[in-house]
Assembly symmetry: C2
Homo-oligomer: 147 residues x 2
Amino acid sequence: MSGAPAPGCPLCDGVGGTLVWQGQRCRVIRADEAGYPAFYRVVWQAHVAEWTDLTLADRAHCLDVVAAVETALRAHLGPDKINLASLGNMVPHLHWHVVARFAWDRHFPAPVWAAAQRAANVERESAVAARLPALEAELAQSLARLV
Amino acid sequence: MSGAPAPGCPLCDGVGGTLVWQGQRCRVIRADEAGYPAFYRVVWQAHVAEWTDLTLADRAHCLDVVAAVETALRAHLGPDKINLASLGNMVPHLHWHVVARFAWDRHFPAPVWAAAQRAANVERESAVAARLPALEAELAQSLARLV
C-alpha cells in the first residue's frame, strides 16, 4: 500500500470541500451536502483504501482527529446524534464522515444515505450554518495542538 | 454519562444478534441483515450514546476491536470494500457496524442503508456465509489475545 496519488481520484486531485484544517497526515473539510451544513470529512492525505491499511500510530492519529471534530460538533451545535462512517465504496480513498444529526433533519432517524423522510427545514439549517465559523476556528486551534 | 442500562434499549435488553465474542467492555455480534451475511457489530456493553462519551482508553479499546473485525473480514473474505459506521440514531447505544461489501451485493457502491440497486445474489451470499465459522473462530482467538 504505497499511498501514492491515484490517477482520477477526487480526493487526490482536489481538497474535496472547504478546507477547515490541514495536517501532515490528514485534513478536515466541510462537505457541501444539501441539507447538512454540519457535514465534515476527515480525509487521509495519502491514497489508501482501508482504515486498517494504516499503521497503528496512523490509525490512532486519524481517529484522534475524528474525535476532535465530533467534540467540536457536540460542543457548538448540541446535535441529537453524531454519525461517524468510513465507507468509500465510490471513492476508495480513506475518509471519515462526521455528521451532526438533528431530529428535524431530512432523514432522521435514518442514515443520511437513506430516502429523505421530510422536507428541509431551511431556517434551522441556517441557524446551524451560522455557528460554523466559530466552531471551525476553535476546531482548527484544537487540531493544531494535537499534532 | 453513567452507562447504566436504559429501559427499553434493545442493546441493553439483549445481545442484538449472534454472539461472536464477549469481553468486559464490548462484544462482537453477527447481525441478521438480509443480503449481508458478513455484517458485524461491535457493541459497547454499557449504555452510552456517543463514541466520545468513552474515555480515551476505552475509545482505543473499542476501535482495536473494530480493527480486529475488519482485519478478519479482509483476510477471510477478500471484500471489495470494508464499511465502518457508528450511527445510532434509532438505537442510541454505542455500536459500530463493520460490513464486508462486494461489487455484486445489493447496494454496491451505495451504502447498505440506501435503496437497493439489484437483486440478491443468493449463491454468492451463501459462499460468503460458508466462510464465517472459520472467520469467527479465528476472530474470537485474536480478540482473546487483545484483552
